[in-house]
């Protein structure tokens, strides 16, 4: 039964999948808006002198990056009820995706901070900036040039990862696709429609990340440097 009608008929399923797209976008938004600031905190806490905190950060990041997201989802959704923590599918999905995005972004942000030249730290020390000012005005603005393109890519990865939450019955795109596919048996048609939907967001996103990388991906942008911050704080003080 060779059949290529799916090449023409896929748009029929788009309306059925649209509510799922909403859920997927919402999950992505949660994962990134909560996850990236957490990732920044984890990145800053990586080198802390408090060893308990350092090990905790290490565990959060390494488990978040080292385990398949599917395993994390099952662990939270099917495992935690055992210790009387019962979460619905949606909160479980938000928790896992946020954990994952925090862990991955922590690593990216840490690497971007490490790429800021040592002299920038020493110069800040020389003009006696406080630790807060050092990060706020010198280190993070420069690190962000390195970190932003991979973070845009990570956002696309997280959007893709929302598809996994179908295994714990979250009503996103793949869940809707499986439901409609199992009624009509037009699996190719419906999954093709789902693929188009993901690609319509992910491909422009990837192109945008590539553009950003060419545009701002070099370590020193020249605009924000210690000299400039020092001049500003001197004129204020």
């Amino acid at each position: 039964m060779s059949d290529f009608s799916w090449l023409i008929e896929w748009p029929r399923y788009i309306p059925d999948l649209l509510p799922g797209l909403g859920v997927a976008l919402m999950l992505t938004l949660f994962a990134c808006v909560i996850g990236y600031p957490l990732g920044l905190l984890l990145a800053l806490a990586t080198d802390t002198k408090i060893s308990v905190l350092r090990y905790a950060v290490l565990a959060i990041v390494e488990i978040g990056r080292g385990l398949p997201i599917l395993v994390l989802l099952y662990l939270v959704y099917q495992g935690l009820p055992q210790v009387d923590i019962v979460l619905d599918a949606l909160p479980s999905a938000v928790l896992v995706l946020t954990w994952s995005s925090a862990a991955y972004s922590a690593e990216m942000i840490r690497a971007s901070i490490a790429s800021v030249p040592r002299g920038q730290f020493e110069a800040s020390l020389a003009v006696s900036l406080s630790r807060w000012d050092l990060y706020r005005y010198v280190v993070l603005p420069q690190a962000s040039r390195i970190a932003i393109p991979p973070l845009v890519n990570l956002t696309i990865t997280m959007f893709h990862a929302t598809s996994l939450t179908t295994v714990i019955t979250v009503a996103e795109i793949m869940h809707a696709a499986y439901f409609h596919g199992s009624i009509t048996f037009q699996y190719m048609t419906v999954y093709f429609a789902a693929a188009i939907m993901y690609a319509a967001i992910a491909i422009p996103g990837a192109l945008f990340a590539g553009y950003l990388e060419r545009r701002i991906g070099s370590p020193i942008g020249g605009k924000i440097t210690v000299a400039r911050v020092a001049r500003r704080s001197l004129s204020v003080g």
């Binding site: 039964m1 398949p68 055992q82 793949m174 190719m188 999954y191």
Partner: protein, 213 residues
Amino acid sequence: MDALVVIASGIGMTLLLTISAALIGIVGGAVIVLLSQSKNRLLQGIYSAFVHVVRGVPSLVWLFIVFFGLTQIGIVLDPVTSAIVTLGVISIASTAEIYRGGLSSVRAGQWEAGWALGLNRFHAMRDVIFPQVFRSVSPTIATYVIGLLKDSALASTIGVAEITFRAGQQTQLNGDGLTFFAFAGVLYLLLSLPLAVLSRSIHTRLSRRYAVV
């Protein structure tokens, strides 16, 4: 205890999926990346379309297209084959992009030196450029293979009896999902350690062999 043994015996399948997909990617990616180096605009376009389309759609969607979707056009693949084909093709696209990054880091002088010695494009690529590319990208590829190890868990959704699938099965039989999935997680962490060590030793060996001073 028996349940843990059942879960651990999924390691073989997890490794089979990971290693097959990695080999397909490492070889296939090296072929596909040549398209991106072509002077022909059409071939370059085909390369970038292939990479963007493959990477623009989640792996789970590709897996379902291959396993469920292809039946609609009369192609029926068993779960293991579907998983290897899907992960393999995704791995070709990702590995090709890694090679492309490596190729752009090889200095033009290396090409010119090859031509000066009378090598043609093919031989310069095979004997001068690619060995250097392999050396510079081997750590990135190793990281990617560790990613594949985690992606192989996707195969559990179509019933391949690897680690995650078995952990789910044992949870349904015995309850105690916390123990079983935590155990599965530990297995993944343990499996990624030797991969990291192996990659480091491959990298040092390649650096020693092909170091350009």
